[in-house]
Assembly symmetry: C2
Homo-oligomer: 752 residues x 2
């Protein structure tokens, strides 16, 4: 094709034949174009048409030659930006081809070719910036580990060294019985190392160190999660129920043996028909005056205890929650120690145990059902810290209301709602470590003619994992805060702390659920192989959103607590008036105080921690006031409170969520303020900004509806989230390494 007119068609021919996106239709378009050009001779047309005959395609050599011709013509010519520019370059200088520009541009468009895109594939590479991003830690990893571990560093180190021993190699078989036994053996080792009794009084052989107990729960969660749940059932639920609900005589009799795992036991609260609504439990404990005993009884099949950990195989005793009946009067739910098996493992008379069988996860824990058929226990087995039966056979309690007494009892068990979210946090850390390390190594696709690129360099992949990494750091500090509040609690603060624990339990476990889902998908097929452990992490933690209180139910409780606090806070005025006032005030406050804030998009502002916190607080307050107002309106309109709360359930979740997000952000910010190391402070500040902005982005519909931000600002937030992901990417591997999870626990071959 030496004819310059024909030369001009080479780039199009090449694209039509080589591009995998062009079809039959494009051939037709090109044919019609050629046929209708009046500046081509009939002979030229025939020649050109022959080159796009689907039945006689060009040879591979033709294609190669065309490519060479094109490359030569555009090499290093920056000015060439469209197919037509190539056409011009290929045609004779003296031919007035530039007049044909509209024709060729139209053809390009008809063919759906984006000239610049096609052209860039021929040019000499200046180096893709996507390809050049890579791991390059900018801070001292150990310093972050030290910060995360805090005062618990010694116990964390001790637990890590124990679970890294060879006997803690993961069980990879699918035999449930074997797995359950192995988990029991592991628990015995931990008991032997004095980890199980860490929270119990020194008087009964314990470590009297609740802070360490929680750190143990969290650190154990880097290992098998069945282990941590079995550990929690035995030493937390079973042991703590004795400690919190019982009295001196129970401590003396049981605590040492529980702590040493000599008495494996259960926490038997949930029944088939009553899980969330535990006030409705139906198991009875009837007082027998004649011999000062209680008869524990399951009135019907659906009142059996269900999902009880340690019940199916190992439990010898249980704390059983049952309605106390004296002389036909119901005194509400109380707790009793009931023996289930003898030391040889034989089930005792009147006890029927069922096995929950195979579960989605946690198959190393022997969950079971328990039914009682008129089981008689001595009076002393009543855990009598909050209620008792006196010598005359009369009910006695410092708390007259059955309801109130029951919730006081439950309140003492709030520790479980600290252990679980911390365990969930550890699982998220494991998942992120595996997924981020893999994504840093796994390469796929790349610039035309260049090497393949680590998938962590792709923006979507960063979006999947890095906001999750930021959130995990944020939750870490928030759970440290929750733990400290719990350890230093006063009676006064108990309700707030209970609500905070219920909320953080939901926030952390839902966060882990979402993060592990992303990790699984981010690791593709490798994430599906059990050897890489995302399987176990995901399926074991799946129930975390349900047990220790269903998250959705807990969030309603949190919201109710917030509403109640809100009302108290504005006690000086009539409640409806104040609600309206706060609501309206909040709405107008932004505009009045800073008319341009809703449209402010400069980088300094978007990254300002004060802006973040104020935005979170504004959302928290406004949603709360709005919910309070709506409920009041519904009830005034004649709805029963129960119905009114049902109508606003969806909004109640938002009330709780906005509160928790504010707490989490605030604690992350406060933690950063204490950091002295400049580099550590710098990277954690970036993570904090990413957490703040990605939450704002998630909630941007609310900010837009509220008028707190305008579209220009929410769009700028999105862009900044992308930018922060890109900026954090080189440090991502170092940031997960700072979790310092033992390699033997990570175990995933893809995370090496």
């Amino acid at each position: 094709m030496k004819n310059s007119k024909l030369q001009a068609f080479i780039p199009l021919f090449y694209l039509v034949w080589s591009d995998d996106l062009l079809t039959q239709k494009e051939f037709t378009t090109l044919k019609e174009f050629i046929a209708s050009r009046n500046w081509l001779s009939e002979e030229d047309k025939q020649l050109l048409l022959s080159k796009i005959d689907i039945n006689t395609p060009p040879s591979r050599e033709d294609l190669k030659e065309w490519k060479t011709v094109i490359e030569r013509s555009i090499d290093d010519k920056i000015a060439i930006k469209s197919i037509f520019d190539v056409v011009v370059a290929l045609s004779d200088k003296d031919m007035n081809i530039e007049a044909l520009e509209p024709d060729f541009i139209k053809l390009e468009n008809d063919l759906g070719i984006l000239g610049e895109e096609a052209i860039s594939n021929f040019k000499t590479k200046t180096g893709s910036f996507t390809a050049t991003s890579q791991t390059d830690s900018h801070f001292d990893i150990q310093k972050i580990t030290t910060l995360l571990d805090g005062d618990q560093a010694p116990i964390i180190q001790k637990v890590k060294s124990i679970i890294s021993r060879p006997e803690f190699a993961y069980e990879t078989g699918t035999d449930i019985d074997f797995y359950r036994e192995k988990v029991l053996v592991w628990c015995k080792i931990l008991a032997h190392e004095n980890l199980g009794n860490m929270a119990y009084p020194k008087q009964y052989g314990g470590g009297e160190n609740i802070a360490d107990y929680f750190a143990i729960m969290e650190t154990l969660s880097y290992h098998d999660l069945s282990l941590v749940i079995k550990f929690g059932v035995q030493f937390g639920l079973w042991g703590m129920s004795v400690q919190s609900l019982g009295t001196e005589k129970h401590y003396a009799k049981y605590l040492k043996d529980i702590g040493s795992l000599k008495i494996p036991g259960c926490f038997a609260m949930t029944e088939t028909h009553h899980g969330s609504n535990v006030k409705g439990l139906e198991t009875t404990a009837t007082y027998n005056h004649e011999n000062q005993t209680f008869t524990i009884h399951t009135p019907h099949e659906k009142a059996q205890k269900e999902y009880i950990g340690n019940a199916a195989v190992h439990g010898e005793m249980a704390t059983v929650f049952a309605k106390l009946i004296i002389d036909g009067h119901d005194y509400g739910v109380n707790a009793f120690i009931v023996p289930l098996r003898d030391t040889k493992g034989n089930t005792l008379d009147g006890i029927t145990i069922g096995d929950c069988g195979h579960k989605m996860g946690l198959n190393g824990v022997d969950n079971g059902t328990i039914s009682f058929d008129q089981v008689v226990i001595p009076k002393e087995n009543m855990l009598d810290r909050f209620a008792s039966v006196n010598d005359k056979g009369e009910f006695e309690s410092p708390i007259p209301s059955d309801n109130r007494r029951f919730f006081t009892m439950l309140g003492t068990l709030v520790g479980g709602r600290i252990g679980i979210p911390r365990s969930a946090l550890a699982a998220a850390k494991s998942g992120l470590t595996i997924a981020i390390r893999y994504s840093d190594q796994r390469k796929q696709f790349g610039p035309e003619g260049g090497s393949e690129v680590p998938i962590l360099n792709y923006r979507m992949h960063q979006r999947r994992l890095l906001p999750s990494l930021a959130k995990t750091y944020a939750v870490h500090f928030a759970l440290q805060y929750l733990t400290k509040r719990f350890l230093n609690r006063t009676e006064e603060e108990m309700q707030e702390i209970e609500a905070l624990a219920a909320g953080m339990k939901s926030y952390s476990t839902w966060s882990t659920r979402d993060i592990l889902q992303e990790c699984r998908e981010a690791c593709g097929g490798k994430g599906y192989l059990s050897e890489n452990r995302i399987d176990a992490l995901k399926n074991d933690t799946e129930i975390y959103t349900t047990f220790e209180g269903d998250n959705t139910v807990l969030m309603q409780l949190v919201a109710k607590n917030r509403l109640s606090e809100f009302r108290k806070a504005f006690g000086e005025m009539g409640s409806f008036g104040i609600i309206n006032y706060v609501y309206e005030n909040a709405k107008s406050a932004i505009a009045e105080k800073n008319p341009i804030a809703t449209r402010k998009t400069d980088e300094e502002h978007l990254l300002d921690s004060q802006f973040h916190l104020q935005a979170f607080i504004h959302r928290e307050k406004t949603i709360l006031a709005s919910a309070a107002r709506r409920i009041k309106k519904l009830i005034d309109g004649g709805l029963e409170a129960y119905d009114a709360f049902n109508v606003v359930q969806h909004q109640m979740i938002e009330v709780a969520e906005a509160y928790l997000e504010r707490v989490v952000l605030e604690q992350f910010q406060l933690a950063i303020q204490t950091i002295e190391d400049v580099k550590v402070k710098e990277i954690l500040t970036k993570l904090n900004q990413l957490y703040a902005l990605s939450q704002i982005e998630k909630n941007k519909a609310w900010y837009l509806e509220d008028g707190y931000m305008e579209a220009v600002k929410t769009k700028a937030v999105r862009k900044m989230v992308n930018q922060l992901c890109w900026d954090i990417r080189p440090d991502a591997v170092a940031l997960v390494n700072a979790f310092a999870i033992p390699e033997s626990c990570l175990a995933a071959p893809i995370a090496v």
Copy 2:
């Protein structure tokens, strides 16, 4: 307490002692209040204070008496709405207590009591409306089943009757080897029933009915999902690769035996180092001129075939994708039939098989790795429909570009991207049937003093499940549409259909992932027990978002196709100009055409299908134009195309998503137009409205940013979503029953 001043305090005392939410702080508040009332005598004060001494609480009898007093005073008095009203009712008429109203209101607020809420618990119940909602189907279930099944009803019925046989009872053991064998046996039964060869030509013993083949895949998915994947690997991937990539000689030699499962086989494309980027496969097929054979070879460990279904145990042959090398020249990826095992199951020389081992799910499928060490196969084993080696040992192909040829080959395999989303759809239907039936029976909590209420009556629970139900119906009709488009495809439409299939594969499998997550949580602890099958449904489908193309990668392809179509559609003008034009036009069009539409919130408008479709189309077009403009700008600004597409990856996902949502809504609407039965049309119209509005709600941030809707409207949409959930709830059980899933397949005890 006959003193009327003291009587007035009864309601407060009762609340303080009985309410589980009041604490120490409230006691203090109340004490201070009493102590500072100057209208109380010192004696009165002492008496009152004695009633709130934490050390001498009232007896249970006191509490009960107080309650009776309160109830008597307010019984049937509608006018009583606050605690203070009770105070008034309890005090002497002649006492001027009303003047004390501000005092008591302040106290209520300080205590955080919402009077109306507290009072409503004492009133005679008028009947909670939350409690009264119940299952009550308003249409003929069979008519919906008939509509869903369509022309495929006979084959669906046949498959259902086969998988309901006793020999298809689920495998509940955890032994992988046993499970794999059982799944093979099941597949053999299906082959024997002529279901495996349904899509093959009649000439080779097949049913030549691709529509029925897809219906089989979907219906089998009500049963074990390992079964459907093993079935798909054998008859779909392995058989169809021979049919699509091979020629007559291959059909004659293999198809019958593949269809009868006499030759179990594999589809060996993915390698450890190349999954999404299959163009980069490294396995080689080197042509040997001397004896007209190919040598198949794995150059290094990471080039082994991985995740290959049927490989670990059963496969005797495989379609292997490898780069064809002739005389040192690389001719791109082609497909070859390679024997792996003899009929006794012994691995052949040069073949090394690995086992992928335990997976998160699908453990009835024997996924494995395959390595080739200089394995020689005859020339005739090349699947030579698109490329071949002629007698002279020269490469021949009607498609000169290696790239284009490879994608043409892949295009013929698009059927897999129809089977998988339809299988995912069936899994979502199973999960929803289990979760909705359970939620209709499971009761928890209830109005004060009333019975417990089905959890499906709670708004959050409805929000969890009913939009998912609507989406599942929507996806059903969209997948019917995709299937019809595929069956009636012309060469012209192939690219569009390939993109649609890739997109619907992502849309359906992500939808199933989300739905099964909600189902698991909605069923609480029961959802975690393997016996209720959400475990298997969830874990088996987990990999659906990865295999047959990673969803995120596929969505990028869909978006690129949309961009290309967009450019073609506006061929008449210069591309940048037109993009700007469309973009700006779209933005102003709404306001110009209908200035009040952005704030329109009447019910008729919100439920109008035209409004829904226009909103979806507007979003689709605007996002597409915006992405096109942004990419153009980035490339013009000097970025390589590869980098530019990385920068906008997040936006590309939205381009694809908006397109798919529009298609799904449109097809659901079209399907409803064909319905004649009034009641069926009515309920499906409601479901369609719920799908449309819940998607708009999900995307409301976008609509607000774009200005297409204002806050007043997006808030009205949220309210309407709640209302539709409430309205659909009584029909929910009937709507899942209309899926007509065999009870033996559902199997979950909680779904009976």
